[in-house]
Symmetry: C2
Subunit: 304 residues, 2 copies
DNA sequence: CGTGATTACGGTTGACGTAATCATA
DNA sequence: TATGATTACGTCAACCGTAATCACG
């Protein structure tokens, strides 16, 4: 199970083609074929069906492992590289769409005032991309949002020792089109909406899988999958009646055509955490500490 | 970063010797030396100091990643192997010491009555060993205990898709020698004991690191490290005044020389979970379901 | 000096590319 | 029949073992 083989396997499975994967990875078609054959031989199971190229059951199982595995591998390499790197005068910041806040923009402005030479870059992307980037060192600091039990840490993929600091919490709300029968309600239980149609927007806030585990209920059928990080687009889809979504309450203040209903059960919060490599006391650690102290929430914790 | 190199690296670091690692792994001294050299060359950093052999800072960092990485790799292989394996008439059960209960023994007796041909084996071991074994398929089912917030899942290392089911919860207690000044108290806050001396018994219940993250407090100095899985030995050490420990309340019923004080803050429970590969409906899944329904606690959840 | 890590060197194995073959839409 | 996966085979690098060298205790 050489990581190279694993990498070509996920590429092939992702692209659905040996030759496309070969181009992507800079191999020949033949090498890719040999990689897959080696993996299948090693594990003693067929991993892909050919023509069309689709994962078998065993292949699907392997895919679940391969992603986190390769991520961890990159994270390990980046972690060591960081120890040796010279502390450059730059701060690259990743933000998931719903983690953006006025407190962040203000703290960032302060920091810029104090350290005029500091080159600041901000990038927004989906959850997985942001976490991946901070783990691999492309980002110095990430602000990630998600749903969790009150004062509980977010459930993030394990990528090694990253320092996670809570920087904000607020109640989530179910977003409905303005004319929806439930629109007048004070509050709803999530399980009561388990059979309603939901928009699955994994790059924005609360994906369907997360809803299921939070509620312990296997429902939440998906009406539409929304790939992208623009919140206004998602709100527009809800307003047009395509389905429901779960968003932090404050997002709805300047949204029209929709209403937000408080969630009465299960008791959860929309939480934002700052994620950075624990090492060093650069601008990333400084900004994270500032954001945390401005919130004065739960203490720092190091993810195991 | 070939897994083989990683494996020899952790072995060398663990044994503190190149030649001992070579014997352990069936390599020659030279090969081990070349492995380490290759890793150091690849990462561009010294990983080990020689004579004596101790990890450098970068090496220590890599060690934090290497363990989980290799575990995941084994888990992936085992996961695929399970898909192909014939369902043998055997149930191998792993239990951490504090997860053993009369409900388990009773359910096991029931199962044996219903399936007389079933070969049942029970093994007790420390947390990490048990989790590792169920991930790699050596165990069909594991019962693991730990401390968590009420009705929260345990914090276990990510090894891929395992089904975790809560099967018991009870309040934890701080264990003190009978003559201790606090022995008469109704309850204590854990942070108030942050400066007391603790016995670190990672194979039994609540290790020092876990105490720290649960409390968000950096104290809990260790008086003594207890390596082993015998609970009576740990209780004896507490009775003799070597230090404090945190154990589930029920353990203290038949212990003498010690008293247990309830923990008032933070609000935590001692929780037991059944861990097994989600695939198939063998005796492992059956027993897990029985234990869970006997408790009727929180619903199943699949670890991401 | 002796134990134990490193370096030098050679044989074998394995990986990748070229090119021919096979299979499927 | 054309696109795309597999197989055959040659080359080259990488890996590991033997053995000589080096270095620390």
């Amino acid at each position: 199970m050489d990581p190279h083989l694993l990498r070509t396997f996920v590429t092939v499975a992702g692209l659905g083609s040996f030759s496309a994967a070969a181009r992507e990875l800079g191999y020949t078609q033949s090498a890719v074929s040999q990689h897959i054959a080696a993996l299948e031989n090693d594990l003693g199971a067929a991993l892909l069906l050919r023509r069309p190229v689709v994962p078998t059951e065993a292949g699907a199982r392997l895919l679940e492992h391969a992603g986190p595995l390769l991520l961890r591998l990159d994270a390990a390499r980046a972690d060591i590289a960081r120890l040796l790197a010279v502390p450059a005068g730059r701060l690259t910041l990743g933000v998931t769409p719903l983690a953006m806040s006025s407190r962040l923009t203000r703290s960032l402005a302060e920091l810029r005032g104090e350290q005029p030479g500091l080159a600041i870059a901000v990038r927004t992307a989906g959850h997985s991309a942001v976490v991946r980037s901070v783990a691999t060192g492309e980002l110095d600091l990430a602000l990630v949002d998600g749903i969790a039990a009150p004062s509980d840490p977010l459930h993030l993929p394990e990528t090694g020792p990253l320092t996670a600091t809570g920087v904000a919490e607020e109640p989530p709300a179910v977003v409905l089109p303005a004319g929806h029968p439930l629109a007048g309600r004070e509050g709803v239980r999530l399980v009561d909406l388990g059979d309603a149609r939901w928009i699955d927007a994994p790059d924005i806030a609360v994906g369907r899988d997360r809803l299921r585990t939070v509620c312990g209920y296997d429902g939440f059928p998906v009406s539409l999958r929304y790939e992208g990080t623009d919140v206004r687009g998602l709100v527009a889809l809800v307003a047009a009646g395509h389905g429901l979504a779960l968003l932090p309450r404050s997002v709805l203040e300047d949204a029209c055509g929709v209403v937000g209903i408080a969630v009465t059960a299960p008791r959860t919060v929309h939480r934002v955490e700052a994620l950075h490599a624990g090492t060093g006391t650069g601008p990333a650690a400084l900004l994270a500490a500032r954001l945390a102290s401005a919130w004065s929430g739960t203490a720092d914790l190091v993810r195991a």
